[in-house]
Amino acid sequence: MIPIDHILEFARPLAEAAAITIFVSVGAFGLALALGLSLAVLRDFHPVAIIRWLVQVYVEIFRNIPSLTHLFLLFFGLAYVGVRLSSIAASILGLGLIGAASLSEVFRASFESIHHGQRESSLAVGLTPSQAFRTIILPQAWRVALPPIGNYAVQLIKDTSLVAAIAAPEIMFTARNLVVNTFETTLVYTLAALLYLAICLPLSRVIRHLEVKSATPR
């Protein structure tokens, strides 16, 4: 009953597509992590008020407009003004910029969760504010932020499916093409869903495990 020969035929293109999905996810994750942390630090510690305000504007814009709108703006909108990004570059950039906004909120919440006495006593024993942040606050905040960052990673892998809309050859886009060529609609889309399941389910299990471990008293 199960069409083995068809599954074998679809396995190769779908595996290649999964590699693109992973590639885009990893790229966007790195960008989101670096930019998100920088934004959080700027938002909370920058002395110039207008910079803090601009960061807040960035976060609000990216959190209150759908990802698809941002991706279309980056891919079609930038091409219109002469900056032609490849679909993969636009995907990594778009998802990374969106993720940075969410992660900056996660980082800020994790900074807030560290008791202010930590900072005050580090300053009192003579650390500079930046030393206090790097050696005292950040290592503790990092542990608090880790589980939400993990959840974000899973969410990000799922969100890479959106870049199919700007023709990046990841899983959903490839599935769509396979359907157009073979008309095996139900089978192909089921395989695509199973592929995401095979990537995301183990990952979220690992993250939940980490979450339980990091919840143990420090």
Binding site: T69, F76, S113, V154, K158, L162, V179, I199
Partner: protein, 234 residues
């Protein structure tokens, strides 16, 4: 910049006459799928609290599976995949079902957090003073749970609103698809997507501000164990 604004302004009236009905579709899609999500979340929660041993495990597996698959894949399965086995829905109904099913798992999580936040002594004490289980729920549990549940529910509603844009890919005539059609007619991608982004923002941002304002209002005079980080994650 000036050029951009004048082009946008000259086209905006024409585009908006097409975008308003699309916005209507987006809002209708949001409300229908939110109602479906609420309706599906309650049985999920009861299932998870069920005493017969396989039921809670099955519910957990179901939630894990639904959460591991992107919304787009679920929408494609419903809209393009189900007709293959003889079940077909219109694009709009597929969108409502897909978003409703996915979001029910998030809503279930919110409801659980709401009920768990109450000490069980509340329930025991009300029963002990002679209240019926129903009036205990109605007058003791519900008013307290609402305070915990409403802000995260509104946040869920905001992400749902944003995610209705994914339904453009299964040809629901909502904002995103309409703006993409307008783009291919006028070849002004920057203008139309900035405009449609502003429309989404005009709805979602006031809602986010409202949630931020509401939360301290609801928590007034109440000791909360939740730290800011839990509020971000809920």
């Amino acid at each position: 910049m000036i050029d951009f604004i004048s082009t946008l302004a000259s086209h905006a009236p024409e585009w908006l006459t097409r975008l308003w009905p699309a916005l209507g579709q987006t809002l209708l899609l949001t409300s229908c799928s939110f109602l479906l999500a609420l309706g599906l979340a309650a049985p999920l929660e009861f299932g998870r609290a069920c005493r017969w041993s396989p039921v809670p495990q099955l519910v957990t597996i179901y939630i894990d599976v639904v959460r591991s698959i992107p919304i787009l894949a679920i929408l494609y399965l419903i809209y393009f995949g189900l007709p293959g086995i003889g079940i077909s829905f219109s694009a709009f109904v597929s969108g409502v079902i897909g978003l409703g099913v996915v979001y029910s798992t998030y809503v279930a999580e919110v409801l659980r957090a709401g009920v768990q936040s109450l000490h069980k002594g509340q329930k025991e004490a009300s029963l002990a003073v002679g209240m019926t289980p129903f009036s205990t729920f109605r007058w003791i549990i519900l008013p307290q749970a609402v305070r915990v549940v409403v802000p995260p529910l509104l946040l869920t509603l905001i992400s749902l609103l944003k995610d209705t844009s994914i339904c453009a890919l299964i040809t629901v005539n909502e904002l995103m698809l309409t703006s993409k059609l307008i783009m291919s007619e006028f070849f002004l991608p920057l203008h139309i997507f900035v405009l449609v982004g502003m429309i989404y923002f005009a709805i979602a941002w006031p809602m986010s501000l409202f949630v931020r304002w509401l939360e301290p209002q609801l928590n007034r005079g109440r000791r909360t164990g939740s730290t800011p980080i839990q509020q971000v994650l809920h």
